[in-house]
């Protein structure tokens, strides 16, 4: 049953004072899907992520994860459902080493022995084993992004939200990020917010476009890229 809907939002709204960051988002994600979420600055992409993972409590509508209504759950409760997020502004434990960062994520739901193995595996996979003993605060931006992805993976989530994972990466790092994402997608569902259209083209099948807190269009990548509406909202920017 690979087409079962695992994440669904209905009429999702998030209001900050007078600002409607989300104004009724209907969204569905099926099992093992890799979805790209795009849209101009301020469209509400990050806000949508924050609502899904419990960092914000939506002011309207519903979120359902694997059949369970989750609005009002706290971040740690959502995380325990098996959801991992890489936030737009990297959120890592700066004063701790790479290994400790990953270990804390891995140990939450595992014994220490399993966690140790998991951490070693993930560091291998991301080619960051040589950074194991480095403090996060000493790492360059690209490496921090990679470590944060490692933290997310160490929690072994089945749904992963990545908010601008390619931002600030070098070309090599982007290639590695794409390999890793493709690899992750063999087991987990993914939603990826990204501004870099080359990146989106390389990984996307289905793309959702947000505009002013709503879904503008939800279609396969070629249709979206060809859409006049999408071109219009990006105000002539090349899409």
């Amino acid at each position: 049953m690979s087409n079962r809907v695992e994440l669904e939002s209905r009429g999702l709204g998030m209001q900050f004072g007078g600002v409607h960051a989300l104004a009724g988002v209907d969204f569905k994600l099926r099992r093992q899907e890799l979805r790209c979420l795009i849209g101009p600055n301020g469209a509400g992409k990050s806000t949508f992520f924050k609502c899904v993972c419990g960092m914000l409590k939506p002011t309207a509508g519903d979120i359902t994860i694997r059949g369970q209504r989750t609005n009002g759950l706290l971040p740690h409760q959502v995380a325990r459902l098996g959801i991992g997020i890489k936030t737009q502004v990297p959120s890592v434990m700066n004063g701790l080493t790479v290994r400790e960062n990953l270990w804390l994520a891995a140990r939450r739901d595992n014994t220490s022995a399993v966690a140790n193995r998991l951490v070693a595996d993930i560091m291998d996979r991301l080619l960051i084993t040589d950074l194991a003993a480095e403090l996060l605060e000493t790492l360059a931006h690209g490496k921090r992004q990679l470590v944060e992805l490692g933290i997310v993976l160490a929690g072994q989530p089945w749904l992963i939200l990545l908010d601008e994972p390619a931002a600030g990466l070098t070309a090599d790092e982007v290639d590695r990020m794409i390999d890793v994402i493709t690899d992750i997608n063999r087991e987990s569902s993914l939603i990826i917010v990204e501004h870099d259209m080359h990146f989106v083209r390389r990984i996307a099948r289905q793309v959702t476009v947000f505009h002013q807190g709503r879904v503008l269009i939800d279609a396969d990548v070629d249709t979206v890229m060809a859409s006049q509406d999408v071109r219009d909202v990006y105000l002539g920017k090349q899409v």
Binding site: P75, H76, A79, S91, R107, R108, E134, L135, G155
Partner: protein, 342 residues
């Protein structure tokens, strides 16, 4: 874990326990030990769980008062010993749960704990009347509670712990608590606490219930402060509202800052050095006590921002690196894991 955490503490702690009374007078050492334990309690919750509590004196005072009140009512001291640990721990668990489940921000937490201390201070000061009586114990207002049973040797109830024997007991407890905290910080719970200190949001996104974990850490800190209060009560043989005073609360924070927040040994060293300085200053009336402590705090913050103890550790490594004969002992350079876990 044993070789890295327990053994060094024993190797330094046990000889120190016997050497110190030869150098200083046991009576002074005992109160310094109680202070060190109190500093350790704040050093733990602040330095490792990131909870800045301005009211650690409240738990110190609660421990001391619980001991005195229970000792008067029970007529013995060993039951009260455990009550003195339990009462502050439970109080802190309830109080902490209100704060942490209410998602109070750090600054408010500091303010609220400060207010809690002030309230206890005011209450104890105004409890002189007949109605302020718990069983056989009168709270006694600003005069405090004197005349309670103190600790005896467990197998010889006639033999009181005082002077040197009380020091050995207090110091043994200090070493024990230090070791227990070191071990705790190596365990998943302790490591996750440090993670929360580093980045609360990420800890939550990893699935850690930070409200629960902070409440537990807060309660552990209060239990240790209560133990320190109990030792203090046994040393002073009287408890007074001054235990809850603002000055006492401020002093604990100064001990931790000067000694080195983010380490366990730092606060112990800070409390011992500053406590002794205060004792020496108390014997003269030329300069104001608080003034000197204030100057020390300012100098420490300006000159040794990491605190005395971490600076000593760094000096030690610096010396080692420059001693040719000690070259094999040199630490791997470059990989500067913080000395946070000392």
């Amino acid at each position: 874990m044993f070789a890295r955490d327990v053994l060094p503490a024993l190797i330094i702690g046990v000889p120190a326990m016997f050497v110190l009374p030869m150098l200083f007078d046991a009576y002074t050492l005992t109160v310094l030990t109680a202070y060190a334990l109190l500093a350790l309690s704040l050093g733990f919750i602040w330095g490792f769980a990131g909870i800045l509590c301005f009211g650690q004196a409240a738990f110190f005072g609660l421990g001391a008062y619980s001991f005195a009140i229970a000792a008067l009512n029970m007529g013995s001291a060993w039951g009260p010993f455990f009550i003195a640990i339990l009462v502050p721990a439970v109080f802190a668990a309830v109080f902490g749960a209100l704060l942490f489940y209410g998602r109070l921000s750090d600054v408010y937490l500091a303010v609220v704990t400060l207010v809690m201390t002030l309230i206890l201070f005011k209450f104890m000061n105004s409890s002189a009347g007949e109605i302020y009586k718990l069983g056989d114990a009168r709270l006694g207002g600003y005069n405090g509670i004197p005349g309670f049973e103190t600790l005896t040797i467990p197998w010889d109830p006639g033999e009181y712990l005082y002077d040197e024997s009380l020091f050995y007991f207090a110091f043994g407890l200090l070493v024990l608590v230090y070791i227990l905290l070191r071990v705790l910080l190596k365990m998943p719970f302790g490591r996750a606490l440090v993670g929360i200190r580093e980045n609360e949001q990420r800890a939550e996104l990893m699935g850690y219930d930070i409200r629960l974990m902070k409440t537990i850490a807060f309660s552990i800190g209060a239990a240790i402060a209560g133990l320190a209060g109990c030792l203090f009560a046994n040393w002073a043989e009287i408890v007074t509202p001054a235990l809850f005073s603002l000055g006492q609360s401020a002093e604990i924070i100064i001990w931790v800052i000067v000694g080195g927040a983010g380490t366990l040994l730092g606060p112990v060293v800070g409390a011992a050095i500053l406590g002794y300085t205060k004792f020496l200053l108390g014997q003269q009336s030329l300069i104001d006590n608080t003034f000197v402590l204030g100057v020390i705090l300012i100098l420490a913050v300006l000159l040794l921002p990491q605190g005395i103890f971490p600076s000593l550790v760094r000096l030690w490594h610096w010396l080692l690196a420059r001693l040719p004969s000690a070259a094999p002992l040199r630490r791997r350079s470059g990989r500067s894991r913080r000395d946070k876990d000392v």
